[in-house]
């Protein structure tokens, strides 16, 4: 099960970066998300797997599909790596990465048979059943107590991203005029910290 899910995820990821049709590519991406969510179910983190499906497939993939269809960039896409001459370089770097990863894994994460617990041997651990928390309980207790500040900051990041996305694509109502936002390099570079933040007196 995990073998087929993992290899399917990798093959779908290859299809994501290889397919020339953006809609197909986004659909392959959805497939990757589903398979990775299946891997997480096998890791016994059920709530995170479901949350993952909701956020990635429900929000992000739909957003991608919306933008692809709206901008209508379906035809005329060039194939991957075409006319760049970048393939040998990329393959070399990839080889270095994979070699390093394999070395790291084999050196530091050798299997430790002493860590196999009772639950792996098919024996019921009554202490776990009696006093255990579900994954959702543990996550909620951590998020709302120890990591509450981080949780709030994550909320602020989402808020800023949402406002930013709206400001970027703002259209003045009633007119067809689109305020084009261009990058003003001199303005951007001549900002300093003392003038960037100020208090509004009211």
């Amino acid at each position: 099960m995990s073998l087929s899910l993992g290899s399917g995820a990798v093959r779908s990821a290859l299809a994501v970066i290889r397919s020339t049709n953006p809609v197909h590519s986004v659909l392959w991406l959805v497939f990757v998300f589903f398979q990775v969510a299946g891997l997480r179910l096998l890791l016994q983190v059920e709530f995170r797997a479901l949350l993952f499906v909701v956020v990635y497939v429900g929000a992000m993939a739909v957003l991608f599909l919306f933008v692809v269809r709206r901008l209508n960039v379906g035809s005329g896409a060039r194939a991957l790596g075409e006319s760049t001459g970048a393939i040998p370089r990329a393959v070399g770097r990839r080889g270095c990465f994979v070699f390093g990863l394999g070395w790291f894994l084999s050196a530091d994460l050798a299997p430790a048979p002493a860590r196999v617990g009772l639950s792996n041997a098919g024996v019921l651990t009554w202490v776990e059943l009696r006093d255990g928390f579900t994954g959702l309980d543990v996550l909620g207790q951590l998020l709302y107590t120890h990591y509450a500040l981080y949780f709030l900051r994550a909320g602020f990041i989402l808020l800023v991203a949402r406002v930013g996305a709206m400001v970027l694509t703002l259209q003045i109502p009633g007119t067809r005029a689109v305020p084009v936002m261009r990058q003003q390099l001199h303005q951007q570079l001549s900002r300093d910290a003392d003038q960037a933040m100020f208090r509004v007196r009211g």
């Binding site: 995820a9 990798v10 957003l63 933008v67 970048a86 990329a90 996550l139």
Partner: protein, 102 residues
């Protein structure tokens, strides 16, 4: 029975490699670059989750939630920039992002 951590970690590494490959080999379309970024964040997330399960430390899962948040924010802002970029330049090519040349 949990599956082998090596397999999950290799899947995460391979997904990261595929995302990196898509980023390296891609000079034409900004939206493909965004998709590759999503793949890489996905791989990192899976890595955090696997280590969190096998090292029995829940902080990895909490951190994976934050990675998820940042990935969602990145997709929203990136696609917003993409829409504006398409409006201004009329193309999705990554070569057109060099502002100094035109």
């Amino acid at each position: 029975m949990l599956m082998s951590r090596f397999w999950t970690l290799s899947v995460a590494g391979l997904l990261f490699s595929v995302g990196r490959l898509g980023l390296l080999l891609n000079r034409h379309s900004v939206i493909r670059v965004l998709r590759s970024m999503e793949l890489r964040l996905l791989a990192v997330n899976l890595n955090f989750m696997t280590h969190s399960v096998y090292l029995d430390d829940r902080w990895g899962q909490v951190f994976a939630l934050f990675v998820l948040t940042v990935a969602a924010a990145e997709a929203a802002v990136g696609l917003g920039i993409l829409v504006v970029f398409f409006r201004v330049r009329g193309t999705m090519a990554r070569e057109a992002t060099h502002l100094r040349h035109g």
